[in-house]
Symmetry: C3
Subunit: 155 residues, 3 copies
Amino acid sequence: MADLTQLLENEVFMAFASYTTIILSKMMLMSPATAFYRLTRKVFANPEDCESFGKGENAKKYLRTDDSVERVRRAHLNDLENIVPFVGIGLLYSLSGPDLSTALLHFRLFVGARIYHTIAYLTPLPQPNRALAFFVGYGVTLSMAYRLLKTGFYL
Amino acid sequence: MADLTQLLENEVFMAFASYTTIILSKMMLMSPATAFYRLTRKVFANPEDCESFGKGENAKKYLRTDDSVERVRRAHLNDLENIVPFVGIGLLYSLSGPDLSTALLHFRLFVGARIYHTIAYLTPLPQPNRALAFFVGYGVTLSMAYRLLKTGFYL
Amino acid sequence: MADLTQLLENEVFMAFASYTTIILSKMMLMSPATAFYRLTRKVFANPEDCESFGKGENAKKYLRTDDSVERVRRAHLNDLENIVPFVGIGLLYSLSGPDLSTALLHFRLFVGARIYHTIAYLTPLPQPNRALAFFVGYGVTLSMAYRLLKTGFYL
């Protein structure tokens, strides 16, 4: 167990663990957000989900799409598309021995940008709020990927 | 190599590796499941996929959506949305030195809940079968995230 | 820090880090590809995204779907569905002490197959180009999962 304990005594890895936990938990909030819009607007994707509102033909009117629900789903998918590369590349970056201050800058910018992205998507704020939030997060991940491949690679 | 071997001698990490491999393999089964429904119902998303069924105008009638295909695709996306946080948070949780029995309880509940979720989605079973399966898996991941952030964090 | 340095001195892990960084960066390219098709074809999903093209009723005509945009989005989602299991299972596989040459064969085949999959999807090339690329990547991940569970598991 000595090695594992040492891993979490490494400050960069510890910071990565904290920010990753926060941003993955934020992403998970998109599921109840979708459920909230589905229930309040009575918009469902599956017949078995709206049985309590009416049976048979009567239930079919709830099987539709809604702008607010689709908006949350797009925000959720955009999170997946961007947080997956951050977690994968960020884990390897954290193990490659970067400066603590540089690593913290990357993690903080990414987490801040993705939280702002969600706010900008769901409010919605006028563009380019969402676009800028997207590009900051995107740039952080690319910067970590660049640093990783520069440190040395084995192909 | 000594450290790596030690990592896989750690029982919690070993259990995490096993359950993660199982649940990611289960998620991968959703791709052939989608292909099965697409082929048996002749429902395609791309013109090049249904060329063997007919060319030109004749092929266009296969470019449509189908309830069963959309159902499998929703189940697949729901897997992605929930298994990604489990793998990311679970990896860090496994390295934070939890009790073996507590960790096993988390991993087993999650994997069981997600397998049941897929069965409930594809059968489909009446609600709240799928909702309960979803919330068990969701709760397990949040519980690991809470434990991680309580163990100590670096922001 | 000694352990972390040792981790990146392990050749298999180093190779995994390089190939994962490459394939996750490739997946990230799907976002600007989607944006490119959205802007050149003037096809948007959100009203706030096309405000510069016209306000109010005039903007609504840009809120539509387009075959090219949907094609890139499907390719992106297929990447997510396949690269997530590769990264998760591949990380654990890399830590399980495989032969360097076997591991390299897995990583190279997967990365090559997924790059070819994207080319086949976006060109589009006639089937079975895309299907074969999909199955090569799928088989590589399953082969790593099999090797992992065979090495020993803890349930």
